[in-house]
Symmetry: C3
Subunit: 219 residues, 3 copies
């Protein structure tokens, strides 16, 4: 299982760029809602777009982390923030495409994260966790810095962590079993994206306990 080369590498980087842009949009938009300045827009865009991959590389020990070596990712994320600055009047009409782009990013990051973890000798269950975190970590960091509870944890949220975890588990198992060729991984990534989009359109949600169900306060 090696890094892809040739047109495969190009295809992968095109999809990663789409994902990075969509993640950067969500960071820059939240920065505006939270009354941050353009430094905050750029900062939150970079954190959202590269934070998940940084967490992955830190936890598996692949340092310097990829976003520093393949620094085009940092520039794409900054480009995403610049696009929000220039195009904000039209972004509301682009809600649906941005959802699709974000879902593409979620799928490819979850699958790639699991694959990279297995290659760094992380056992399959750990690799599934790493892949999931690669997909959702940037958004969690974005929300923490914006002083929000992570969107993926909130009661009103649609499925986000769940498709990432399922896809990362499947990719992790496939690579571990030696079936992890690029066709299989691309199909898994596509299924993650499809499940994410379906969850938004069909209003899927996981259950919650009522707050009143617990009557103790622990600090």
């Amino acid at each position: 299982m090696e890094e892809p080369t040739g047109w495969l590498a190009v295809v992968r980087e095109v999809f990663m760029t789409i994902g990075i842009l969509a993640f950067a949009f969500s960071g820059a938009l939240l920065a505006v809602q939270k009354r941050m300045d353009v430094v905050g827009m750029a900062g939150l865009a970079v954190v959202t777009a590269t934070g998940g991959g940084m967490m992955r590389d830190l936890l598996i020990g692949a340092t310097p982390v990829a976003a520093l070596v393949d620094w085009w990712m940092l520039l794409v994320a900054l480009g995403g923030a610049a696009l929000v600055l220039l195009l904000h009047r039209w972004l509301s009409r682009l809600d649906r495409p941005v959802l699709v782009f974000d879902a593409i990013g979620l799928g490819i990051f979850a699958v790639e994260g699991a694959r990279k973890a297995i290659e760094h000798d992380v056992p399959p269950v750990g690799a599934a966790f790493v892949g999931m975190l690669t997909g959702i970590g940037g958004g969690v960091l974005r929300d923490a810095l914006a002083n929000d509870i992570p969107a993926v944890f909130r009661k009103e949220s649609r499925l986000y962590l769940v498709p990432a975890l399922l896809g990362a588990s499947a990719a992790s198992a496939a690579v571990w079993l030696g079936w992890g060729n690029w066709v299989v991984l691309a199909i898994i990534a596509g299924l993650v994206s499809a499940m994410r989009i379906a969850s938004e359109l069909l209003r899927w949600r996981v259950p919650s306990l009522k707050t009143e169900a617990i009557d103790i306060v622990r600090d």
Copy 2:
């Protein structure tokens, strides 16, 4: 100073499991209080239970981090979240046992963290810091994600960081001096747990400055 084997390893893992469960409870319970869904309960349980150990391994360079390799910890943390989901009606009556379990976790994680840091060539003062962080790091991350100021920093908090730091310092010194056999480390861990429980029962607290004592605002 090697990793323990045989029944010693089993005893250690039993106590670590108790600590992981207690930490996972506190994460899952806070998730419910903060109106998160079951994904948030599972997420905050895993973060609280494994976050301190992950910080330890990242700072000392022991990667891939232990929770990915010894992935039973991730599953135990998820099990803790599941127990909260199933048993929440009875958890309020279990307040005292959970306090004791949490204190056991604090003791063993602080001591183990300091020991592991020394083994990775961290000097004793640094190792004491690492051990303390292993004990409290998961809870700090839990509170940051739940949009709270860390409980261990709050005015109304009982002693938590202080016993962890004292125990980690003692363990660090013991291992550095070559006295760090399992009997000594177990006694130190027990003292940390005892001090933590005593602090809650006897309402020990560290002092605070009054907010009015400072009259400048710095950003």
Copy 3:
């Protein structure tokens, strides 16, 4: 490009100590404003003073991180918290000196961070990012733990990230081109400090989008 020795090393450590103290002050003062106890003051002082360097070392893979090995930094940060505890009555009159000290820290950390990243084989663009993060990372972590949006991202903030990024970029380019001797790096660090102080005195600010400019809510 080696680590400095002799009086150069002493000069560098004197300036780093000034920076660590100033960063520790800002952490301890925010802890008081946020109604934390003395544990919170010490904790936030250490996080603010050493957090940026820890992020740098984690991202470039220089572990165990410097603050654990050169543990005098942890003690200086604790000393900074102790000074706030003892001298808080007079700190309001020291607003200007503290601003200067903080600016010195920003300059030296940004430049040193970029230099260290280049030495760990990070390409120049990545190294500029690392240097910037070394300068601002501690403050971002401080604000996240204090439940604030990072000061460097806020609308009303003066320039802070921008001088750090410019200085880190210059230092990164200089070291990469082989011009990174200590005279050049010291001049760059001085310019960062000067720009930071000027931004506060002359009320420089970066622009922001109006919140009303975007009409979508994305989670």
